[in-house]
């Protein structure tokens, strides 16, 4: 709608609801009150319908592995002592794809299409990071 104005917002301020929810172990997503589409990364307008009426909703934390890869070395100080680790792209059931990691405690091998459930780990610099564990019996060997 032409009358709606997307105001500039400080990135850290805009992301506050995400971090508040993450502190409770919950993944918060932007959802458009107008058309219902979820958005990630953060938006000032709904990419589906253009509305500025974006609200925060708690995601169920369930999804499916789109892709995965093994990181064995990095110069990033916050990854010291955490390598090797498995990077994930997860398609949440809410319809958005997010970057994440396989939980450090997860020892099973992951494949594209596997069902996964969210939790959080804290990075070396205190950032709450979305991580996933494989669902029991949730392996989808025919990836979708």
């Amino acid at each position: 709608m032409a009358s709606e104005v997307a105001k500039p917002i400080d990135p850290a301020e805009r992301a506050r609801p995400y971090f508040d929810a993450a502190a409770r172990g919950v993944l918060a997503l932007q959802r458009c009150a107008s058309c219902g589409a979820c958005a990630f990364p953060l938006r000032a307008r709904c990419p589906a319908c253009g509305s500025t009426a974006l609200e925060w909703r708690e995601a169920a934390g369930a999804g499916r592995v789109f892709g995965h890869g093994r990181l064995t070395r990095s110069s990033a100080p916050e990854l010291e002592g955490k390598l090797p680790l498995t990077l994930l792209l997860v398609d949440l059931d809410e319809g958005v794809r997010i970057p994440a990691r396989l939980a450090a405690s997860e020892s099973r091998a992951v494949r594209a299409g596997d069902r996964v459930t969210l939790s959080f780990e804290t990075s070396g610099d205190g950032t709450p990071l979305p991580v996933f564990r494989l669902d029991p019996g949730g392996a989808a060997r025919s990836a979708s």
Partner: protein
């Protein structure tokens, strides 16, 4: 009815500087040298150049001041643009449109970059100093995603999981590039590469070894686009632009290689050909996997069969679909989309020397930018579109 742009323009000039580990030079000076070399190659005087399109690489070392550097006084078309790896293909397309509609007669399209610093690792030069982003942007690097490599690697692993693509098959693409590079005197990496050496190459993000990733290079490449008729009066053989296409989307939730499908279909339709009519291809090879998925999207093999297709030797010297005949960005030089375009011009002209492929009637050229966010396709040919 055929699109009036089909075959209406041609590349009449090519300028390439020394490429690769060439230090203590600025991107701006590389660009100036490449434009002047392309003008000389095209037999054009400086004041006959009336269009200039620029694409700065990662070091952002060139801008509109190149007009002043070169003392250009007759420009009626000028802009700087960037859609990463598809920029060069797009520049040729905008140049072709402008020439076709009479906005300019001779348009130079130049890419220049100089991120490499002596004594510094390529990865450092390219993405080492990434600024920490505020807000949600901090999560991505904290997870361990640094730059585009992990995103491509995860897409590649998905392909392996879904279609059974193997590490050897990704390796076949790296080996093929090196076989071609050995025949290209300008190539950075010309020593033979074995599959065992490929497997021994360090991991960046598995399934990507270092040798699945392109080089980082300094230098510049310029091509000049002119009308098909005028191109026939130039000293070098014209390289006709038969078909062009682009596709873009920035919703990384949907990021899928199908952009290459859209872009190539548009270009093939304009050129009046299909994938079976393409005799060789110059594919944007930022990673081995980018090649594999582009081959599938362009219809050179079926979805999921890119791995076996590469492993069959089809892409290597003597293969059924010679690809990246100069060694590509994996082994020769990383000039974004200008690497495949320049090689297509060399091949269409018959200038390939030890790497010349006899079948050069239709050359498909791809450019890929972002994380499957931008794609451009050209169909180039030494033959006028009859």
């Amino acid at each position: 009815m055929r699109d009036s742009l089909a075959g209406a323009t041609a590349i009449c000039g090519l300028g390439m500087t020394e490429l690769g580990r060439v230090y203590e030079r600025t991107a701006s000076d590389f660009a100036a040298e490449a434009v002047l070399a392309a003008l000389a190659d095209a037999g054009l005087a400086k004041d006959e150049l009336d269009g200039l399109l620029l694409n700065a690489g990662i070091s952002q070392g060139i801008d509109l001041s190149l007009v002043q550097t070169l003392g250009l006084r007759e420009l009626s078309l000028l802009t700087q643009m960037n859609a990463y790896g598809s920029s060069a293909g797009q520049m040729v397309q905008y140049a072709a449109m402008a020439v076709h509609h009479g906005l300019a007669r001779n348009v130079a399209c130049v890419f220049a970059d100089a991120p490499l610093v002596r004594g510094q690792r390529a990865g450092q030069a390219y993405g080492g100093a990434r600024a920490r982003r505020p807000g949600l942007g901090s999560i991505v690097p904290s997870l361990g995603f640094a730059g585009p490599i992990p995103f491509y690697a995860l897409h590649a692993q998905r392909h392996m999981d879904v279609y059974g693509t193997t590490q050897d098959q990704l390796g076949a693409i790296a080996l093929s590039a090196r076989q071609w590079a050995a025949r290209n005197p300008r190539a950075t990496m010309r020593e033979p590469l074995s599959l065992a050496e490929y497997h021994a190459s360090p991991w960046v993000v598995a399934p990507f070894h270092v040798l699945d990733c392109c080089l980082v290079s300094n230098g510049a490449i310029c091509v000049i686009v002119t009308g098909a008729e005028r191109a026939r009066d130039r000293p070098r053989p014209p390289v006709y632009v038969h078909g062009v296409g682009q596709a873009h989307q920035l919703e990384w939730n949907d990021a899928s290689p199908s952009l290459a499908q859209r872009s190539s279909r548009a270009a093939f339709a304009m050129a009046g050909c299909g994938p079976a009519d393409i005799e060789q291809c110059q594919i944007y090879d930022c990673y081995t996997f980018t090649v594999l998925t582009t081959l599938e999207d362009y219809g050179f093999c079926k979805r999921g069969e890119g791995g076996p297709f590469a492993e069959s030797g089809a892409l290597a010297p003597g293969g059924a679909l010679p690809m990246n005949t100069g060694g590509g960005m994996l082994s020769s030089y990383y000039m974004w989309g200008m690497t495949p375009i320049s090689e297509a011009v060399i091949q269409a002209r018959g200038d390939g020397g030890a790497r010349q492929v006899a079948r050069n009637g239709r050359v498909a050229v791809s450019g890929n930018g972002g994380i499957f966010n931008h794609h451009a396709t050209l169909v180039l040919s030494p033959h006028a579109l009859g």
